[in-house]
C-alpha cells in the first residue's frame, strides 16, 4: 500500500521515514551530536492522497478553528475564554476534541454542528504513540475518614503495547485569518465514550480518543461514508485488553521522557476485571503502589 522512493514499504516504515523527513528539514547540520526529538504545537496528521490510493503525513494545528472566527484574536478568545458584554466570564473552548455523538448535531443548541462539513468531507487521523490522561482521586478526611469533595489529579500515559504507532480518528478544517491572510489547517481529535480502562483512568469525563485499527483507519479517511457509518466508526471503543495505562510523574511535561512510569504513593490500583465505581477512586493509605497494568 505505501511506497517510499518507489519502494514498497510497510506503513510503520513509511511513517518512520516521513517523520525523519520532518526532522531532517529542521536539523541544522552545522550543529554536532544527536537530537532526541522535536516539540512544537503542531501534530502529525494522516490524510488520504487525492486519488485515495495512499496516504500522506502532514502537520496541522491542534485545536479546531471554525470558519466563523475572523482572526487570531477571536481564536484566542474562543480558546482561552473572555468577558462578555455583561462582564461575565465565558469559559474557553480549545476545541481539541470533537465528541463522536456531536459530529453532526451540536451539543449546545441541538442544531447543526460546526463539525458537520468536516465530519462529512475532511476526515483524517492523528498519529500517536500514546496519550496522557488524568485520573481524579477523592481525598479523605484525615480524622473522620469521610470522602471530601476535593480530588487529586494523577497523570497516566496510555498506549497500545503492541503498536509503536496508532491512529486516532480526527477531522480537520482549513481556516484563513481575514485580517492577515494567514492560512492554517486545524484539527480536532474525535472522542468516544470510554471503555473500561478509560473509565478507570479518565474517571472525570469517562471518555477516550477514538482509536482505530488499520482497517477502520483507512476506511475513515479513504471512503465516502454515510452519516451512519461515520457515527459508527467515530464511536469505536478500542478493546481495553489491548491497551496499557501507566502512572507518570506529575511534572511529566518537563521530563526528558514524559512517558516514564512513576509510582505515586497512595494511588489506588486499577483493576480491569471490574467496572470502576466512585469507591474505587478514593485515596487509600495502605495500598501497594500503582505500577503499569501489564
Amino acid at each position: 500500500m505505501c511506497y517510499y522512493n518507489g519502494q514498497k514499504v510497510t506503513r510503520a516504515e513509511f511513517i518512520k521515514l516521513k517523520d525523519l523527513e520532518r526532522a531532517v528539514s529542521k536539523y541544522d547540520f552545522l550543529d554536532k551530536g544527536a537530537i532526541s526529538g522535536f516539540t512544537d504545537t503542531q501534530v502529525a496528521v494522516v490524510v488520504a492522497t487525492p486519488d485515495k490510493t495512499n496516504f500522506d503525513i502532514v502537520q496541522m494545528e491542534w485545536g479546531y478553528i471554525p470558519n466563523y472566527l475572523r482572526n487570531r484574536e477571536e481564536v484566542v478568545r474562543m480558546r482561552q475564554g473572555y468577558k462578555d458584554e455583561k462582564g461575565e466570564w465565558v469559559e474557553g473552548q480549545p476545541q481539541l476534541n470533537a465528541k463522536a455523538e456531536n459530529l453532526f448535531v451540536s451539543e449546545r443548541s441541538g442544531g447543526r454542528s460546526m463539525f458537520y462539513d468536516a465530519a462529512k468531507h475532511r476526515r483524517c487521523l492523528i498519529l500517536s504513540t500514546g496519550y496522557f490522561e488524568w485520573r481524579h482521586i477523592y481525598k479523605k478526611h484525615k480524622k473522620t475518614g469521610k470522602r471530601l469533595k476535593t480530588r487529586d489529579k494523577y497523570p497516566y500515559y496510555v498506549s497500545l503495547p503492541e503498536h509503536e504507532y496508532f491512529f486516532t480518528a480526527a477531522i480537520w478544517n482549513p481556516w484563513t485569518d481575514q485580517d492577515t491572510g494567514e492560512m492554517v489547517n486545524s484539527v480536532a481529535m474525535v472522542t468516544a465514550i470510554g471503555n473500561r480502562l478509560a473509565m478507570w483512568v479518565h474517571n472525570s469525563k469517562r471518555r477516550m480518543p477514538t482509536i482505530l485499527n488499520d482497517d477502520l483507519a483507512w476506511r475513515w479517511i479513504s471512503r465516502d461514508l454515510s452519516k451512519e457509518e461515520i457515527l459508527e466508526i467515530a464511536a469505536t471503543q478500542y478493546p481495553y485488553e489491548q491497551m496499557d495505562a501507566c502512572p507518570v510523574a506529575s511534572d511529566f511535561l518537563a521530563r526528558l521522557d514524559p512517558s516514564e512510569p512513576f509510582a505515586h504513593a497512595k494511588l489506588p490500583a486499577i483493576d480491569l476485571s471490574i467496572e470502576p465505581t466512585d469507591e474505587h477512586q478514593e485515596e487509600v493509605a495502605e495500598v501497594s503502589q500503582q505500577a503499569c497494568l501489564f
Partner: protein, 82 residues
Amino acid sequence: MEEPFVIEYEGKTAKVSEHHLQDMRVFRIIFNGTRKPLTITVAEKPGRKKWWTSVPQGRQKEAEEVGRLIADYIRAKRKEQQ
C-alpha cells in the same frame, strides 16, 4: 557513530557525516562542486530487506550509489581495525 570521512563519487570527492535522528542512522553527504547536499538512510522493505533511500524522497539513484560507497568505506575501516 562514524567520524566524518571522505568518499569519491563520480570522480569528485564528497564529505560524509553521520547523525542520529528520530532513532535512525542518517548520513549527510556534501559534494564537492555544484551538486546539492544529500541525506540518506537505511530503511526496511517488507521481509526485513534493507535498502538505501534519500530523505526526503526523490534521489533514489544517488542514495543507492552513495550508500554503497559509504557501506564499503565502513566495512573496510572495520576490517582494518580487526
